[in-house]
């Protein structure tokens, strides 16, 4: 039986239809994950947006009412909010930089062969596993307290007297504690980066007479770049949202000097019970974060590398 040739337009339509179906078929494995994230995060997001446009205080005697963008405008004339933004920048930046450096140094040390290396590595990464709330509680009384803490005793013994850590250096107390935990994380990632450094390259370099430090600086570091960037990004993300240490050590003080954006939103929602303002601040924080990350991600090379078959 002779086959009838399809008309050209029919063929194009079916090709388009196939491409469409294929497009969806390609996307299918992504959908479950995407749907879960969408549902769980976007519904609350929309509600938060809705709240941010209202003047709504849970305990006040007046009923909630729409004030549109007043909460947002108020944020920029709120001294504490501005202080929180500054604190966020200072504390997050310091923690990320310090963690990457400390973690990197430890990784460099642990990348070498020496007896007991596995044990050392095991001990060094443990801080990352400790629950932040528990760590903060213990550091408060057992380490930072000038009367009962071990740091107080140590500084006394070396003649520095007892330091009032939280009163005199509040930001440093938070940064120290967070760096302690996150440098273990940085250590983990950067160590794996170092261990994935092709050994043939290192051997070739040493055969050519390159010194250890030269190899490290010129060859290892560029290889490590995507790992360092990944560490910095993940650490920044998690440090931004975590305020257990702040809540427990300093209550955001003294005089809001350790209040970051996340903690300030928490104070507005759970202490002032002003959901309108808290939601608005949350929106602003989100906007800041997006504004910062977008250009950064375009610059960062290793993370957006496209691989496999295009």
């Amino acid at each position: 039986m002779p086959l009838s040739l399809p008309l050209r337009s029919e063929k194009r339509t079916s090709r388009v239809r196939n491409a469409f179906v294929k497009g969806w078929w390609d996307r299918l494995p992504l959908l479950p994950a995407l749907v879960v994230v969408l549902c769980v995060t976007q519904l609350p997001f929309v509600i938060t947006l809705y709240y941010s446009l209202q003047r709504w205080n849970l305990v006040s005697t007046s009923a909630p009412r729409f004030v549109w963008f007043r909460n947002f405008l108020n944020a920029f004339s709120d001294t504490v909010f501005l202080k929180a933004v500054l604190n966020t920048a200072i504390m997050t930046g310091s923690i990320v930089i310090a963690s990457v450096i400390v973690g990197g140094l430890l990784a460099a040390g642990l990348n070498r062969e020496f007896p007991g290396r596995t044990i050392a590595r095991t001990l060094a990464i443990t801080p990352f596993f400790i629950m932040p709330v528990a760590a903060a509680l213990f550091w408060k009384t057992g380490i930072y307290d000038p009367t009962f803490g071990i740091l107080g005793w140590m500084t006394d013994e070396v003649g520095m007297g007892r330091v009032n850590w939280i009163s005199q250096y509040p930001k440093l107390t938070i940064i120290l504690l967070a760096t302690w935990q996150w440098s273990a994380f940085a250590l983990l990632i950067q160590l794996s980066g170092m261990q994935s450094f092709p050994t043939e390259v290192a051997e070739a370099a040493s055969v050519d007479g390159a010194g250890r430090f030269y190899t490290f600086r010129r060859l290892m570091l560029p290889h490590l770049r995507p790992f360092i960037e990944l560490t910095a990004l993940l650490t920044a993300m998690y440090v931004l949202e975590n305020f257990a240490a702040i809540a427990i050590l300093t209550n955001g003080g003294p005089a809001y000097s350790t209040t970051n954006l996340s903690y300030y939103v928490y104070l507005e929602a759970f202490s002032a019970f002003d959901l309108g303002r808290a939601s608005a601040f949350g929106m602003i924080a989100l906007a800041f974060a997006i504004a910062l990350t977008v250009p950064m991600l375009r610059v960062v090379s290793g993370i957006f590398k496209q691989g496999g078959r295009a």
Partner: protein, 454 residues
Amino acid sequence: MLKINWRTAIAGSRASTLALSVAIGLYGAHAARSEEVTLTVALAANPQMQTAAKLVDSFYAKYPDIKVKFQTLPENQLRPTVLKDVATNSGQFDVVMIGAYEVPLWAEKGWITNLTQQYVTKDKQWHADDLIKPIRNLVSYKGDMYATPFYGSSSFMFYRKDLFKKAGLAMPEQPTWNQIAEFAAKLDNKSTNTSGICLRGIPGWGQSLAPLTTVINTFGGRWFDEKWQPQLSSPKTKEAINFYVNLLKTHGQPDAAKDGWQECLQLFTQGKTAMWYDDTVFAGPVLDQASPEVKNNVGFALAPIKEKAGSGWLWAWGLSIPKTSKHQDAAWKLISWLTSEEYIKLAGEKAGWGTVPPGSRESTYKLPEYQKATSDYADLTLKSISAADPLKPTIDPVPYTGVQYVTIPEFEQIGDFTSQQLAGAISGQMSADEAIAASEKKIKEIMTDAGYLK
């Protein structure tokens, strides 16, 4: 034709009716018993409440149909958790523990059940008249009780009798703040790492502001005038705040800006401070946990005064029933039991008289065992509670009630901001006057926004 024996028939029907009614009765009883109710209770995590959780078996013995699940939280977590639940009508809790500050505010918003109307008048066994009057008023709104007082407290002075004796000093039963400042100066000992006095410094409207407000009151100051203008910079209030900050900076514990009552309790019981001004409810735990050299040397004195007598604060933790609870009657059974004379006796016998909830009932203070175990401080506790007057906390008239706080919804916000600035002054980041100026500015904003000021 069958001959029907009527007598037998009637007897038979009677028997079957009897059997039937017995059967129905049994079924009814069974159904009632399987109507088991589980109450979810939100509590502050304090020793008295932990004792209550341990003694709940006695409650089960009395009311076998009711089971209880306790959710204990630290105070600053309890408040938002419970508030979120009642404000959104979520109904997760059947009983909530709330403070004297919340009771009138929540009653006004209609979040908690009016206990006087629903239960108290009907439950004669509970002896509402036995409750200590000021405490009973604290947990009421417009004359009706909205919470049963679990315990009531005021504030007084803890001090080390041995250190005083060694320095040749004597603590009067009613000291003045000037005397306290002198004592602190003499007892401050850097070489033994002992501070003259321990006072709360950590930010929080319920932390550092509680003692500070009593100091303001007794110095003749106040938070607001009759027109709701903030008065922090008025001469007497300013003097009080400066006094508090300076006392802490010169002879208070180190790193005071991070210390709440928890930290001061630790310092005092371990002998690291000679005096401590705080809540009367800590008297039992202090004696309980003091290190050996401190234990037998703890003395008590009334809250220090300046111009106004009776400067101790007034506080109570009460048990309320949210309107959204589906088990109101069962909840009442629990909260009335927990605040009854019967419970107090039980707790005393089983857990020790020092940990019995204090300051709620007059009858507690008449029990000989209680008097014996708490002779050091029971008297002073009662005196302090009776002397505090939340309706007239200051020398000059004020538009608010509350001794160590201001009973308006905005006070949490105001208090948190002000105590943050105060902590800044205590830690040396700014002067007390700068802290006062910054606080007043913010208070004006908040009060204007809330409609108190035009």
